[in-house]
Symmetry: C2
Subunit: 441 residues, 2 copies
């Protein structure tokens, strides 16, 4: 079967890091793409096949596209606006005023475009976003070709584009209906900001709406010590136990951060089947703390990596995020064997996909999955020599080493350049917006 | 004076981050180079000047070249050979056997070349090395054009190229004499491996030899908890107090790591004028611990950043090292204001130069200093918009964003390519060596 097939594209002459359950690595491998799907993985080029396009990986690594499980795409326009500050001063004196003044449909689209470009150029093919005026984010996702889990934020305050807090949930629910069947590349979701900015009623109603629509319910949980203390004080429970008491934790819930959790909380997260987005660089930069990720993984919880928004990182490069994650947990646990390279590489691919509930379609190179693929250029001094591909990908490769990117079989980056997109114009718009934000800060 | 001068090169149309004591940043700035030195810094191009070559920074950042205060250049050939292992297994089962079998003059030169290429391409213009067969490292430094503090290692065991341990110090001392006046770009030094691999007598004699020659004395100190416990057990003192009791700590001593030190040790390091090389990524990856860097800085100690060797990092990119350093200390101290961007940027420039005793010649863009300069390309999505140059350099710029590199006024990298050097051939040699090492591992 398929012995003499013609494929749309064949990527050959690369080392295929499949991320399948066996962690198979196919040297001198070939990936055949047909109708946007991965059709076949072989060792050496199948000379009985033909293709619309042959792509020579030039001895590089062929990987599934990376999965960024948490972010706020439009916030890239605030990249580096205010750093090294106490959290309250950062938010109240810089980020909130800038959001109030400058966030509108146009700026959200500019920021989302900018983030999509940065993510594609650094090998991310699926991201997960929660913000406001989210229709503009969806438009940027459609324009740029990336895949995204998108949610209009829910919060019990007024928000950009929403003057009446009571409308937030309705707008978020309408957003899900609007985008649910619009594109394979847009997976709508509902995002409650946190257990301290949403009431019990809002949390329960939002989760009910997500469950009814069959979509993921996202929420920031236990990010800071202050939050954990506040929830404990107001509700007599840890943030995780509080949310569990409301019935909002299940297999279709994605918890971001989960820094301030104890063993009892981890048992709950594990037994409910919740996914976790770990954001080490953001948690470090804001001094939030270190999530007990090795415990999450031991408990069988799906854990993905996230960059968080550019205002608290300040980049969207999942390769450096992997490197940081691997090293941070080693030093914190005083054990150089934890968070080994394969574990961390799984977090930005198949485990991230699992945390988002998308592991049947993305996260590994296996026949029948969407052809979301990247090629890494190894012909550089900092990537020479190579002994173990997984170790190289975590500790030596950087986002700038991504040569080609395909989403659903469509080439979006070739030879380190986005194709068919006007990156210059987006950078020009973002820089102009940045000058206005700077003058007002 | 100099009003109508002709310069060798003028770099213009960039934002000059001087790293001078006032932390002056000159927008739309110009740096004039003459006879390998920085001759002049101006705002806007001086139209009364002419130059052999005008270099358009295209709106990018112009910085002093970065200073890597600790490494083992030849070890890049072991990059990623063995990761995620307990320290003893990593050393005894992989690194030491590979060194025993494969380290010779040729492999040291190949590894040193490879490291120099990687460092130059990521903006490092001065590095500090301690290894064996160090003549080969000096040759690679001369060939590639980088600047380096170089030391033949001293240890009370046999070492690559030295069968008789008693000869180690003599060879190291001869090395200093040989290279002391050979080139502006080679600054010889003496490197004792550690207080547990060198006897009291070796330490004292090595320091005496360094002092006599007027060169820097380098040593790994208090890197691991085990080392600190061992020295305490054997000598009844902490590693720092033990070395101080031997009289080897002074303004011409550079201590690498300094992880396991207490407040009394910090007082000693400060009062003796010792410099420290902080290696956060290596310390994290090997789970050694977190050095109390904010305390060092508060005590006025010159602290530079180091990547350590590629076997424990696994890259030589000082931009990611800055990012990691800034974030690590924030989360460990639970304070987002520590290790702010300016402080960290100083560590890879003027403070690193100060730790090496070279701050009169490198580390900032000031008239009369060597023209070791780099240009950062800002025209990329992940560097848009820019609010604060220092913040951008620490949290968003990566080594791959370095466009041009000059050492002593000589262009070594232009448009991200090394010029006049056969990078392909070095990568081919390193890859071939890697295949042999892999087969033997």
């Amino acid at each position: 079967m398929n012995q003499s097939a013609t494929y749309d594209r064949i990527i050959h002459n690369g080392c295929v890091v499949t991320l399948n359950p066996e962690f198979d690595i196919v040297e001198d491998g070939v990936v055949c793409i047909q109708d946007g799907l991965i059709a076949r993985i072989e060792k050496k080029a199948p000379d009985f096949s033909s293709a619309g396009e042959w792509i020579d990986a030039d001895g590089g690594l062929i990987l599934p596209g990376l999965v960024n499980t948490h972010g706020h795409l439009p916030m890239s326009i605030f990249r580096g606006l205010a750093d090294d500050l106490p959290l309250a001063e950062w938010l109240n004196d810089h980020i909130f005023p800038a959001e109030n003044r400058f966030i509108n449909s146009d700026s959200v689209k500019t920021g989302a475009w900018l983030s999509c470009l940065e993510m594609l150029l650094s090998g991310t093919t699926t991201c997960c976003d929660g913000y406001f005026l989210e229709d503009s984010v969806a438009e940027a996702v459609l324009d740029t070709g990336i895949r995204a889990v998108l949610a209009q934020g829910v919060i019990d305050f007024s928000a950009p584009g929403v003057s009446e807090p009571a409308q937030n949930l309705e707008i978020a629910t309408t957003y899900v209906s609007k985008w649910q069947n619009a594109s394979d590349r847009i997976i709508p979701s509902i995002f409650c900001h946190s257990p301290y900015t949403c009431s019990k009623e809002t949390l329960v109603r939002a989760k009910e709406a997500a469950a009814k629509a069959g979509v993921c319910f996202q929420i920031h949980v236990a990010e800071t010590k202050n939050e954990a203390a506040r929830i404990q004080n107001e509700h007599g429970l840890s943030p995780v136990k509080y949310l569990d008491s409301l019935g909002v934790l299940d297999e279709q819930t994605l918890v971001s951060h989960a820094v301030w959790v104890d063993d009892g909380d981890i048992d709950i997260l594990s037994s409910r089947g919740v996914g976790i987005s770990h954001n080490p660089e953001s948690n470090m930069k804001l001094a939030s703390g270190v999530a007990p990720v090795p415990k999450f993984i031991n408990a069988g919880i799906p854990v993905g990596l996230g960059t968080d928004g550019c205002a608290s990182n300040n980049n969207l490069d999942l390769f450096t995020e992997m490197d940081t994650a691997a090293k941070l947990h080693k030093v914190v646990s005083q054990d150089p064997t934890v968070m080994d390279a394969r574990t961390v590489l799984r977090m930005v691919t198949i485990e991230g996909a699992r945390a988002l509930g998308l592991d049947d379609r993305i996260g590994s190179i296996e026949p029948g999955k969407w052809a979301d693929l990247i090629v890494i250029d190894l012909r550089q001094p900092h990537l020479t020599p190579m002994y173990h591909p997984a170790s190289h990908l975590v500790y030596a490769v950087r986002g700038s080493d991504v040569r080609d990117v395909f989403v659903q079989g469509v080439p979006l980056v070739r030879n380190r350049q986005v194709i068919g997109l006007d990156a210059e114009e987006i950078m020009r718009q973002a820089a102009a917006l940045g000058r206005k934000i700077w003058q007002a800060d």
